[in-house]
Amino acid sequence: MTIRVFTALLLVCVLTLAGLAIFVSGLFLRDQLAPLVTDIEANQELMLVIFEISVASVVLVLAFTSLLFFAVGHFIAKPIRLVANAMRAFAESGQVPAPITVWAPKEVRELEVAFSGYTGRVDEVHKHDMEVSRVKSDFISTAAHQLRTPLTGIRWALEALQMEQLTESQKALVASAVEKSHQLVSVVGTLLDISSIESGKYKYDMKRTRVDDILEEVARDFAPQAATAQVSFVFEKSGSESAVVSVDRERIRWVLNNLVENAIRYTPAGGSVRITSDAAAGRAYVRVHDTGIGIPDTDRANIFTRFYRASNAVSKQNGGNGLGLYIARTIATDHGGDLNFEANGSGPGTTFTLSLPVVE
C-alpha cells in the first residue's frame, strides 16, 4: 500500500466522520431551533441557512482533506520515491545518486543523507578493490617480465650448449634442462595471458573450429594423467556431426584443460571422468562429468569467484590458486558463451558445462 493510498483511505474515514458530524449537528440545530421560531417564513429561511451551512462545511472539509492528500503526496511520498529510485539505480548500476532537489521533511532528508553516506562508503570500497585488482595485475605482468629476461638467458645458453660436442649423458641432461626451460617460458606466458584476460585487455584470436577436434586433443593429452590417477577417462563422441564454433583455440583449450584437470584431481581412484558434447538452439555444449568429491552446497554460489576455493578443495593437499574457474568463466563469457555446473542427479560428482555459440 502506498503512502497516497493509505492517506486517501484515512481521509475518506475523516471525511465520512466529518460528514456524519455535520449531518447530526444540522439535524440537532433544526430540531432545537425550529420550535423557537413560529413565523413560517423565518422558519423556512432558518432551515435553508442551516442546510447551506451544512453543505458549506462539507465542501470545506472536502477541500481540506484534498489539500492534505496532495500535500502528503507531494511532500512525503514523492521525496521518498525519489530516494528509493536513487537507491535502486545505485544497486543496479552503481550510479552514485545526486542529492534530491525537492523539499522534503527532516526524516526523508536524514534517510537521504544516510543513504548517500552508504553509497559513498560502498563506492570507496569498490574503488579500492579495483585499485587492488589493477595493482595485482600490474604486479603479475611486471613479475612475469622480470622472469622472462633471465629465462631467455637460460634458454639461449642451453640451446647453444646443445650445439656443442656432448656425451650422450650430457646431451640427455641438457635436453631435460631445455625442456624444463621451455615449460617455464610457457608458464610465464600463461601468467601474462591470464593477467591480461583478467584485466579485460586480452585480444582473442578467433577461428572457426570443430568442437570435437578440440575435445579429441584434450582426451589425448589427459589420457596418461588419468591413467596415473586410476580414473577412467573417455571422450564420448556424439553420433551427429560436430558443431562448429568460432573460438580462440588456445584459450578454450585452457578452459577445458582446467575442467578436465580439476575433474581428474577431485575424482578418487576407480572413478570416472567423461567428456560429452551436444548442440541445441544455436549453442554447442561441452560437458565434463566426474564422479568426484562434488562441491558442497555452501560453496556453490562462490566457486566462480576470484581466489575462492571450495572448503573440501582446500583441505585436500593439492595446488590450486582459486583463479582457474574464474578465468575459465571469463574466457567463456568473452566468447559469448558461459560456464556452469551442477551436481550429478544420480550418484556422486559434478558436471561442468561449457556453452559456446555455434557459427553457421
Binding site: 622472462r148 629476461t149 638467458g153 639461449w156 640451446e159 586480452y202
Partner: protein, 127 residues
C-alpha cells in the same frame, strides 16, 4: 655487392648480447648497441641492413628508436627492424608495429635459431 653487410643488434643485457653474438658471429657482421642513443649513432655510422631491436632500454627506449628511425629522411628510414623483446602484450606488439617494426619476436619464446631464420627471411628478397 662486395660491401660488408652489418646487422645492428640493440640489446642492453650483456649476457643476452653474448648469447646472441655466440650464434650470429659466424654468420653475420654484427654491431652491438646497449642503449637507444648508441643504436642511432651506430646506425648512422655503419648503415646496417637490418636492426634487431630490444624495447626496454636505458635512456632512449626501443619505441623511441623506432620512431626516430622511421622519421629519418635518408635511406636508413626503410631499414628492416625486427623487435626482439620480452614485452609481449598485444598493446606493445601493436604499438611497435604501428611505429614501423617489420616483425616482433618475444625473446623468451624463441630460440636464437629462430631469430636467425627470421633474419634470413627478411634479407632474402634483396640478397
Amino acid at each position: 655487392m662486395a660491401d660488408t653487410k652489418f646487422i645492428l643488434v640493440v640489446e642492453d643485457d650483456p649476457i643476452l648480447k653474448n648469447l646472441l653474438g655466440h650464434t650470429l658471429a659466424g654468420k653475420y657482421q654484427t654491431l652491438y648497441a646497449s642503449d637507444g642513443n648508441e643504436a642511432i649513432a651506430l646506425l648512422e655510422a655503419n648503415k646496417p641492413v637490418l636492426v634487431l631491436l630490444d624495447l626496454m632500454l636505458p635512456t632512449m627506449d626501443g619505441f623511441a628508436v623506432l620512431e626516430s628511425i622511421r622519421a629519418r629522411t635518408d635511406e636508413l628510414k626503410n631499414v628492416p627492424i625486427v623487435v626482439v623483446s620480452n614485452l609481449g602484450a598485444e598493446t606493445d606488439i601493436e604499438k611497435a608495429k604501428s611505429l614501423g617494426a617489420n616483425d616482433y619476436l618475444i625473446k623468451a619464446e624463441v630460440a636464437v635459431e629462430e631469430i636467425v631464420a627470421k633474419i634470413e627471411s627478411m634479407l632474402a628478397p634483396s640478397a
